[in-house]
Amino acid sequence: MTKDIVLEARELSKEVSSPEGRLAIVQKVSFSVHAGESAAIVGASGAGKSTLLALLAGLDTPSDGKVLLAGEDLTTLDEDGRARLRAERVGFVFQSFHLVPALTALENVMLPLELAGRSDAKAAALEALDRVGLRERVGHYPRQLSGGEQQRVAIARAFVVRPAVLFADEPTGNLDTVTGARIADLLFDLNTRSGTTLVLVTHDRALAARCNRVWVMEAGRLAQG
């Protein structure tokens, strides 16, 4: 059964110093997600959702506890080791898209493949852009694309490496309702088809409800939703 667990947090805590003393942002969080599952973490602003996501993806290091991602203990890896693991096993979708403004849609999607040293980067990126319906706009720069289109490029970039886990931080937060709904459809559709594990951070209960499992984050602690 353990084999199926692709992401696991054990007693995960994050503290920072503040003018008022030590502040616990994430407190003893433990949970696990199985391969192919979709999980949502919901909560109000400042509940610690984004910090938890950063810890799970290895973008930040915990004060205590550990994270196992695709069988590897992130806390035993250095910064470069975590980066390599991300390049191979992790995809990201952000609220503010985070495309490299100097690169075209195609080049943005090729980026993680090139970082991983893949020789078929261009073909795979074109296919990924085709799957998100942007075949015609591969040569456009981010500023020439609408918000919804930019997020599709970001989704294509996230799925193109066939990640074990895809982290999404408020993926519809910067979009209008209609576009947001289309992006959500695309995300879940691709997730189902590619068998990826999806970990979603949002305060949108409707979006969270489409996931297999929902946790609620409150003052740094996690409860089953």
Binding site: A87, L111, A116
Partner: protein, 832 residues
Amino acid sequence: MLRRSAMLGVRLLGREWKSGELGILLIALIVAVGALTGVGFLVNRISQSVALQANEVLAADLRLESGAAAPEEAYITEAKNRGLRTARSTSVLSVVFRDERNQLANVRAVSEEYPLRGTVGVANAAFGAPVAVGRGPARGEVWPDSKLLAALDVAVGDTLSVGAGTFRVTRVLITRPDQGGGFGELAPSMLMHADDLPSTRLLQPGSRATHAVLFAGERGAVVRFKAWLDKNKKRGQRLLDVSEASPQIQNAIDRAGRFLSLASLVAVLLCAIAIAMAARRYVQRHLDSVALLKTVGATRGFTLSMSLVQLCIIAIVAALIGSGVGYLAQEWLLRALEGLLRANLPPPDWLPLGLGFLTAIALLAGFALPPLLQLSRVPAIRVLRRDMEPPPPVVWLAFGPAIAAVVFLVWWVVRDARLFAGFIGGLAVFTAILALAGWAMVRLAGSTRGSVGVSWRYGIANLSRRRAESVVQIVAFGLGIMVLLLLAVVRNDLLTDWRRSLPENLPNFFFINIPPDERMAFFDFLDERGASRSRALPMIRARLTQLNGQPIEKIQFVDPRGEGYSRRDQNITWQADLGDDNQIVAGRWWTPAEHGRPLVSISDEYQQGLGLKVGDRMTFDIAGEVIEAEVASVRKIKWDSFQPNFFVVFPPGLLDELAGTWMTSAYFKPGDGRVISDLVRRFPSVSVFDLDDLLSQVRSVVDKAAMAVQSVFVFTLFAGLVVLLAAVQASRDERRYESAMLRTLGASRGTVARGIVAEFSALGLLSGLLAATGASIAGYFLAKQILQVSYSFDPLLWLFGLLGGGALVAASGWLATRSVLKQPPASTLRSG
């Protein structure tokens, strides 16, 4: 990994170039390199021209002289193999006849190729206006000088006999390029063709002749040949280059060189500031991209090597374009200033191009690499939290490379320990003072916020909030304004001083061998004809025989000059007053009570050459009498005063009985040729030495140096403005966002604009105040210690510093941030 990071680096760079992202960094670097190489090319060409012109004093680049026999043909063969041009010149003292009249003259036989540098000035009558020709007389002809013509009462067309030969006078020799500034040749002189020399039979075993071989060619080849000659020349052969040819010209070159190094240093400094600011902005704008790269799997090494590749490409592109800009800029400048030049400047060599590349790399490594290292340390989590910055850098890593780059470039440009120490020390102190003062002002300004209007409050609030940035900008502006002020101050002082040191009525004739009993009549003759006369000094020849009781033949001199001084007879004098063109550098000048005591005062060249110190004993043989004297003082002589001056001076009352002859110098209006002819006839034993040509050579060198100084000033001013703009650009993104915020909250464009102007005016005023203080102090130090000119305090400096600084910074700030106000607030807030 390196290949992938390089490829991605190149691609990103290409995209950024297209989208204008790189503009500021690249332009700052191009202008920096352009300014520096522009100065470099210009200085290079002018110093080549100065050196060439100075070489005219030798009529060559190198001159090998020998007393005994003519230098071997092997030297000429070797020189020709190395692509150098050569010529021969032999001078011999002989009596020249015209019927029953005769006169001792210096007969100089020159080969076809003479002169290799400069021209021979000839006329059709004695003391006439010279016409330049590039050769000596043809076979069968002679060109006697005016003094010889006057003494023998001959004219062009007559014939003269020398030894066994008879020659026709075809021209009158007015100037030769190698007549020199010394007093080696007191007799009248005459040029003839070298091939005619054997027929005169003047050269017999034991005859007193000086043989010279002249060499000229491309600079590098000359330098290498000089090294070869130094090694291979025989004892008794003397090698001369321009540094030994004429102390007057050397003085002018030294001063010009020092000032030009100083001026190019200013450009180096301004470049560094501009690069640092542009690099900071570049890094700020790339934090997000690098964080994203790390999120999708790039390691720190990957992002770092990507940045390094980009940096190298930027350095190469900037160095290429910048050097091109620099070349064109100096070409344009030279064209604009063409009227000032006597001849076309020689083309520059490629050294400044190397300087351009090295500068671009050193500046980027020193000032852009540290922030780029920081960039590679930006945490990946920045993709989720925009407030995450890279961890603060280690202090030595942040400032070490910058300091190393400045030290390296400054040393490379200056190559003088004292100037280097003064500059680096001054820079460090001034930077620290500026930083402290800037910090204090920002704090002070913060406390006045409550009492000023909304625009000023906004402006001052900006200063306080961006405290670190404000201090950096005050330091940058302050340094920029200071160097500009300093340049203006030193330039004026230097030019004024030069003009003063070479006044129009500088003595242009020297008179030597004035018999003591004729001297009053001679001075009266000069005074009656309106000549302005300088001091008259007695003169006698002396030979140095012992130093501190040790025979001179047994002493080995380290300095080759010492060897020369110890062998040659020396002209000496005695005088009561020091004269304002002499300065005591060791010991003290004698008091009237010490007149008649066995003391001696020597020049610093003489002291260094012989390795003497105050208190040493020197023994001279003066007209058969042995005199031992103690070194009482060492003098620094200002040779370009063109007054009679001597290496060795005794107090009055010691040698008066021995008096040989007198000498003086005087100024005659150009064209007083007849007066000189009369004088030569009336006082036949007096030797006349015409300095007009030498003087115009020195004036021309000074003119060129002044032109270089002025053009360097233009370059530096331009570089300074770019620094100011780069500084303003650095805070542009933030300003755009703030302006949008303020306008959204209801502020008018005018309010925001006034706030910006207020902020930059405050920055400029304080920078200007500090800069004026710094420039006054540094100017005083430079004028007194380095350039050795007098310094006059100028209150205008403060006015220019304060008002100029305030206005310049406010205007640049306004120009650079103006577009911030043009954008509608909504678009800025959306994209920010």
